[in-house]
Symmetry: C2
Amino acid sequence: MSSLAADLQSILGPKGWLSGDDAAPFSRDWLNRYGEVPLGVARPATTTEVSQVVAACHAAGVPVTPQGGNTSLCGGAVSGTAGGVILSLARMNRIGDVDRAAGTIEVEAGTILASLHSHVEAQDLIFPLHLGAEGSAQIGGLIGTNAGGSHALRYGMMQDLVMGMEVVLADGTVWDGLRAVQKDNAGYQLRRLFCGAEGTLGIVTRAVLKLYPAPKQKATALLALPDIETLVSYGTYLRSEAGEFISGLEFFCDLGLDLALRHVEGMEFPLESRSPFYLLVELTTSSALVPLDEILEGALTVGMENGQVSDGALAMSEAQRAAFWRLREEQPEGQRLEGAQLKHDISVPPGKLAAFLTEGEGVCQLILPGVRINPFGHLGDGNVHYNLSPAVGSSDFADKAQAFAEGLGSLASRLQGSFAAEHGLGRSKIALADALRPANERELMGRIKTAMDPRGIMNPGVVLKG
Amino acid sequence: MSSLAADLQSILGPKGWLSGDDAAPFSRDWLNRYGEVPLGVARPATTTEVSQVVAACHAAGVPVTPQGGNTSLCGGAVSGTAGGVILSLARMNRIGDVDRAAGTIEVEAGTILASLHSHVEAQDLIFPLHLGAEGSAQIGGLIGTNAGGSHALRYGMMQDLVMGMEVVLADGTVWDGLRAVQKDNAGYQLRRLFCGAEGTLGIVTRAVLKLYPAPKQKATALLALPDIETLVSYGTYLRSEAGEFISGLEFFCDLGLDLALRHVEGMEFPLESRSPFYLLVELTTSSALVPLDEILEGALTVGMENGQVSDGALAMSEAQRAAFWRLREEQPEGQRLEGAQLKHDISVPPGKLAAFLTEGEGVCQLILPGVRINPFGHLGDGNVHYNLSPAVGSSDFADKAQAFAEGLGSLASRLQGSFAAEHGLGRSKIALADALRPANERELMGRIKTAMDPRGIMNPGVVLKG
């Protein structure tokens, strides 16, 4: 046993240090693309233990990769170096008391998102971040990747929902940034910097999160629309009429609907006729006095009278609401079951979505004629999951993955968007970032990294080249 | 003329370079406490000129202090070194086109906040940041200080309203971070780091800002409440009943009301009897269908029936709404006209406001018996402007300013709050920050500063010791 492994075992005890076969379930990423064999997996139970582990790794010059639910789509939570240490936060999952007057709660980094949801919902509050992986994803990982999801239009991303945090720095010292206030301008916005740094600047161990009152009403509709321009302009209209109520504004297209209906069990399509695009609208309010259904119906009527909306249905029950959402949420699963796929996580200003889809189609067909494009995502913030399936009759992408990523990413950048909207860079998108980001931006990031982690032990090879 | 001055004059032309007496109006801060005689004032008209000025200063090793409306309450926008260069962004005040589908607008850093307000309001949109200095404060300075104000509870602070930015870095190169999307996780959150850095890491020259639909309805009430505990619990109740509508939740106390009524012209008090505390509630909605008055009246009725609210009035006209707001907004002016004062810009979690006011009173009376305390501010986010007047019959604070600042600041920190909530650190609060912030936080900030501004020319002596 290496001397570091012995030290870590003695710090953490038998429950806190896994190696050999026991470490294997933590070693590879969710898509099984990344992950060298680690020295072992540290499973600290307290901030002090995290601090001791990082200090020992720092002294030994051994890389540390923090791991939450290991749901990264970009390989961000596994070791890029054989013999690195994976630091799993899973045992640190205590949820503190709700501070009702402040609308906040303090949680440990290993808290699973869905556990937090049920914990606060039982107290008539919500933590409004929702995404596909919520049953596994942990708060620390969500902070590390600055997660977004389907409610970000209204409530913001993870960085907007974190008020304060505790972070173990590269040398193992603990930064106490557990302030519980929105207004804190006493220095640089370090809490925002740690959000989205994917564990490369420090390891978040606890956080104070923002809560909202639970909605007293919800209204949900599924609409059919003829084209992307209409989709965007109708979305703009909805925002002007029902701005503060919109908690979901999700779109998908007929190819994606087809894939979901064909491959996923128990799906139902509630409208009378198919259409090129669909929009899922969800309004919520914390007031019992708002005529929420009437507001949504009114907007729907206007859309139909204007010829923007060709068909639409309002959810009449919780079951129907869930069925509408499944049509959107099973898009990735339908496409996965179709066979090979390429995922792109793009954002562009919503007004440029039409340009992005039109020009993106051109980019893709030039790279690989016949490729099938399934764009779906969050209309409100212009976040498109632009996923590809091979041409009918073909089973792969002929090694064009990087060409697609660069072509689409550079189009998004040109339209003032981002080639990495809500999944982060991890390990998989570093080459893309090197190709697309301004050189002085990468230089600045590198300087910050070196300043905060001079020995380069914090998740090296993630966000920036190792 | 120094060789740098000659270079700057040749870069900027006669309209762009002020020195001697012409520079004097820019040299001192708004409270006339800070500001050494500068080499001159650079007034660039373009990003390229800003870039050239900073590059020249970088080469010469001369400090550059960016200046917007020069409304800093902490001395952040004037030179701390004789012979430094003040870089005024005032000539860069172009406002771009609204992107209605995205709900964004691109503006230059010298745009005055009130000009932006009227520009977008004419198009049925709002930029929701409001504060006392809005007639002078410029976007660049608001970003630099991560401004807050009275609507932050609903819309966030400046960092939440900036989607992308262009920044001239310490060596004069330009970082193009003008993305126009919320979801951008392609690397460290640099845009958030520049927010609140007070020009010490770079100079913001342009920004893409977030807009919201203009409200179609407003409802405003002024309430009287017996004590701080009731104020806080009633605020919590309002949030649970009317969460998404609350755009203002401002409190003040009877001493502050008295000062405003006595000293400021044309003030009127609309309630029948005086009370220890007052709460100004403003609800707005972008929907014409919401019974907004009814929601506010309902909450008011509940408060009165429960004995939480002792008196209340609903604004029946725009004039009355404005009159209610003046009672809150003239608090600083009333106190200024009373004579000497000390300002503290504190935030604590709202549930700890009562503890803060009670213990704060103890702290203050121990330091200087009889001192008069006027707490007012933003209930929703726990931001208290905790301002002091000397005891009746006394005219100063007997050199106790630092003792008050440290006593109150350390109390706020102990309650998980901040001793510098929305005014920043500037020059005036560095000693306080050194006394109150964890040592490793200052160390981290120092490292980031050195990494991004190795020659130390960007507004030295602000945020961090020079």
